[in-house]
Symmetry: C2
Subunit: 276 residues, 2 copies
């Protein structure tokens, strides 16, 4: 049995640089599919496009979300913009057919390389690893009420143990602080490689939830940098916004591995949920 994430991001090559994908409804959040999962699908297409270059790791990827992707068939088209010795850059588009018309859902650029080849041991991280209570004291995402899980089936894809200090929203008492942090692993213990990190960075509830604004916060743009291959074990993820303005907010996410290394950094620009 393959891990469910691998099945969800699987691609079938259809022609040079083009792949078909079956977008998994298990990653739905309301009526749209989670942007992090879709970034994993696109990253997988880029990785396969560069297979002969042995550059499997997303050093940087930027995705512009154009319209909500729905479960079902999709096409990912890639174009190698530049092949390089350290990194190669690829443009990618995820599209779906709507009423007989091919509609672009996501447009992306990515530079992939090989982290093993650049690893020179010189790491000077001054960012501070998040402090989280033990898993037993945290709020498990898949323990969410059934009515929420029906709306957000994605919650069954992973075990996310949210720091109760940032989970006031879960009991109707948001803290007002634009920070949420949690432990993370896939529900079936799939090891987290550099590709899966593209999904991990976008799995936490939007910080607006804890600011007292429940609801979906559509991503306009998300850029992720993968800096290190994660060690096995639970990850820590933390995201924060420092500049909510005029209905838009940035969200910076950090992912730390069990060896205490900052393995991924991302930033997105998102639209605040609209009042109901």
């Amino acid at each position: 049995m393959p891990y469910e994430y691998d099945a969800a991001i699987a691609l079938t090559p259809t022609s040079e640089g083009e792949f078909s994908s079956d977008i998994d409804g298990g990653w739905l959040v309301g009526s749209g599919v989670n942007g992090g999962y879709l970034l994993g699908v696109i990253g997988n297409a880029v990785r396969q496009t560069l297979a002969d270059a042995n550059q499997p790791d997303p050093f940087a990827i930027s995705a512009y979300y154009l319209s909500a992707t729905t479960p079902g068939p999709a096409t990912v088209s890639t174009r190698v913009v530049r092949r390089g010795g350290t990194v190669s850059t690829v443009a990618a588009t995820l599209s779906q057919v709507v009423d007989d018309t091919l509609v672009e859902r996501i447009s992306a650029l990515a530079s992939f390389g090989n982290l093993d080849k650049v690893d020179d041991g010189d790491v000077r991280t001054t960012a501070v690893e998040p402090v989280l209570p033990p898993v037993e004291e945290c709020v498990l995402s898949s323990d969410a009420p059934p009515e929420l899980k029906k709306f957000v089936p994605m919650l069954d894809r992973f075990e996310m143990y949210v720091d109760p200090a940032c989970a006031g929203w879960a009991v109707g008492k948001p803290s007002g602080n634009a920070v949420i942090q949690a432990w993370f692993k896939f529900v079936d213990d799939r090891p987290i490689d550099t590709l899966a990190l593209l999904t991990v960075v976008d799995t936490l509830p939007p910080v607006t939830t804890e600011m007292g604004m429940p609801g979906w916060a559509p991503t306009l743009e998300l850029t992720a940098h993968v800096r290190c291959t994660p060690a096995p074990g639970l990850l820590k993820i933390r995201h924060e916004s420092r500049n909510f303005a005029h209905g838009f907010f940035e969200e910076d996410c950090e992912v730390w591995d069990s060896a205490g290394r900052l393995v991924a950094q991302s930033r997105q620009l998102a639209l605040a949920p609209r009042p109901e």
Copy 2:
């Protein structure tokens, strides 16, 4: 007389969505042209492409730097990926002819909109405005030694007053901290609009300078979010790295206006300068 920045980013439309540009050698840093200036050129092409939509402001732009741009003729090609009421998304490429071959220098994606139209007055910034000494106590960039200015003519494009606490590199005593902050204006007092902010975010010396690693730090990827139209007056710019690893580092830049508002945020992934 037009302001020199406007002359430097000027474009001539050549066909639908295509422009010719004359890349200004005044923005050279060593043998390559500054990435922030080039982002301004690309942003100008996107703005002109969307002129009929009245969406002049770069909400988000991501540029992947493929090879060093040189002064002289260049072509900027744009393609509207999606037109929207709030934002429209455009793909853009800056290319130059090298040995009779068109070489892509920069590949970019951008979502532009109209900041005036989204301004609802609801701003909740928790980021903290940088504290800078008065201009008179700072180190003026254009006072750099002539041998440096010959190598970096860009230093004459603006007046940058660097906080002496972050300018140890200027006297051979880098602090070791990956932070540099300064006051900023264009040398001819050109007002700074949302387009020029794309350049401003990439004008400080790389933080690696203050970490004791002098030299050019090539940008792999830079994403900027413009969040507010700047008020007139000196800007404060500050950038910082928190994760130097394996020869790569991220650099987060904030730009604050004279009204104390966080007007732009950017992050880039760059390559550390190589030891000489």
